[in-house]
Symmetry: C2
DNA sequence: TTGTAGGCGTTATCAG
DNA sequence: CTGATAACGCCTACAA
């Protein structure tokens, strides 16, 4: 943990010469360079990135902000993004927050550090505000639909289409009584998927049945009184929970009931690879995020979620 | 995103005076202070923490390193730790890694930035090496048992005891044929819980049956051929998976089979609050981690995991 | 009460 | 080829 100045003194040269050696720059004799590099590795020299970043007025750190309870799905997404950012020489540092206030504070913190950018999963139910100077000074990206903030880049698939395509997929497989199951929240992503479901059902002149996560009995009652044959769940976790609830009452999936989720994230599939789902285009999202950091406006929209056949939906 | 020097110029004073105003230090007239503070807020001035940190040779950032697939449980733990670190004026920045090499590189990166410390979830199956100078220059903590690295602080409950207590809990509830279900891995945490299970079973002269996560049929075969009445799972996710597998074959939990997990992390219980489990002492772990950062060696060990009654285990 | 100087570790530029 | 100097933004110490 030696500094470049100390390294220079150890080699009886100036800091400038050390710099030339370390960065393979011209204007230094091979002999001097080798000597310096040898001493550098001997002492395990590593440049302090903070000093470099302060010089250049720009950090290579990208802040990732996520609400603690949202972390399951988004950590996978963050990991995919992180990989691609590393390839660009950037580093993703993820912080979790409790309240919108904490979130805003962390945004300010990263901005003050002259971060390369920010990737947010904003709080649901309660919007945050980001000051105009911050939005101007670094790219700020939201991974979910966040209307009302000028200059915020939103990177996510068309969630209305996700709901629509999912529902159409079930209809094409012969289902007519389809239940939509999601969470009690005003999160845009949730509302929009439900909207897509309703559009698809209406287009096929079918009756919509909508409910939020609930106890086993409520689920059963809703299913029975509507002759439901398929449940479209907001995400895979909810689908798994529904499957568990159904199974606990002797209803087999997919024999007696089809269940469809959304996400297909690696962590979930590593825990359970049985749920038929709409694959969330994480790679494409990462690409778009990187494009924004490269200041190259993406030429096309985000790919839609796509149907993945597993074992929890059957055709009837 | 104005600097303190620019702020000084705007107020027609020196940087020193600005500093006195911002830090409520003595030696400044109330009038000047107010004027400076007004201009500061007008321009949304925020000190660049990097500059401060470089001055002091110490950053307030604590690095959190976790393997991408481990993230589900550890993100909750990181969040708890993060809360307490914030109370100490520190910030936890979590990075995910793929390979041990990436992990080591990130360790070097945080060390070069003069981080306040590092909290690792090291790779399983393959140990990493951390250079002695790094271990000397900042506190490095592992959240799982990581033998063989001198100077590394390991902060986790006694996992042998976890396995032991879990098994004894099942035995006390009348179970005799108990299956241990975990993952195919040499991770110390996994091995130690299995060890505790075996110790408890031997102590009660019971026959041990051990299997790793597998397909439904294999699970069923193992259960039938050993007259199993309870399954002790390495964690709640695995417990949920087992419950799903059992339910899908008409075996009801806990009526026909008891299932016990470990973790009781908020994210899991928010998705499913039915699994009887061994509560992982996240708060106590966070306390010990903070004690290390305060350089106050913790006076006692980590609290053990404790039984939490839910709905997946019954007495027979 | 206020201004000035120096240093943290790096890099870019200019002079030798 | 190499050394000296300034700059990034902040803070402490000392001088006026």
């Amino acid at each position: 943990m030696i500094s470049s100045l100390e390294l220079a003194r150890l080699c009886h040269v100036s800091q400038g010469t050390v710099d030339r050696a370390l960065h393979n720059r011209a204007g230094i004799s091979a002999r001097t360079r080798e000597r310096i590099l040898r001493v550098a590795t001997e002492h395990g020299y590593q440049a302090n990135p903070m000093a470099t970043e302060m010089m250049q007025g720009k950090s290579i750190i990208v802040g990732g902000l996520v609400h603690n309870l949202n972390s399951v799905f988004f950590m996978d997404l963050f990991h995919t993004i992180s990989q691609q950012l590393i390839a660009m020489g950037l580093r993703l540092h993820v912080c979790s927050y409790d309240t919108p206030q904490t979130c805003e504070q962390l945004v300010g913190d990263f901005a003050a550090r002259k971060s390369a950018g920010l990737i947010l999963v904003p709080p649901i139910d309660q919007p945050i505000s980001i000051s105009a100077p911050i939005l101007k000074s670094l790219p700020v990206i939201s991974l979910i639909h966040s209307p009302g903030i000028e200059g915020l880049h939103c990177v996510h698939p068309d969630e209305v289409q996700t709901g629509f395509d999912a529902t159409v997929g079930l209809i094409e497989r012969g289902h007519r009584q389809i239940l939509m199951l999601d969470y009690p929240s005003y999160s845009p992503a949730i509302l929009q998927r439900a909207q897509g479901y309703e559009q698809a059902m209406r287009k096929h002149c079918l009756h919509t049945v909508h409910m939020v996560k609930s106890d086993t009995q409520t689920l059963l009652d809703t299913i029975k009184s509507n002759n439901i044959t398929a449940v479209f769940c907001h995400n895979d976790w909810l689908a798994l929970e529904a499957i568990r609830q159904l199974n606990s009452q002797g209803i087999k999936v997919p024999d007696d009931m089809s269940v469809l989720g959304v996400d297909d994230s690696p962590t979930f599939t590593s825990l359970c690879d049985q749920v038929t789902t709409m694959h969330y285009p994480a790679d494409d999202i990462a690409k778009h995020v990187c494009a924004i950091f490269k200041d190259k406006p993406p030429k096309r929209g985000i790919k839609p979620c796509t149907w993945v056949n597993r074992q929890s939906v059957r055709s009837i």
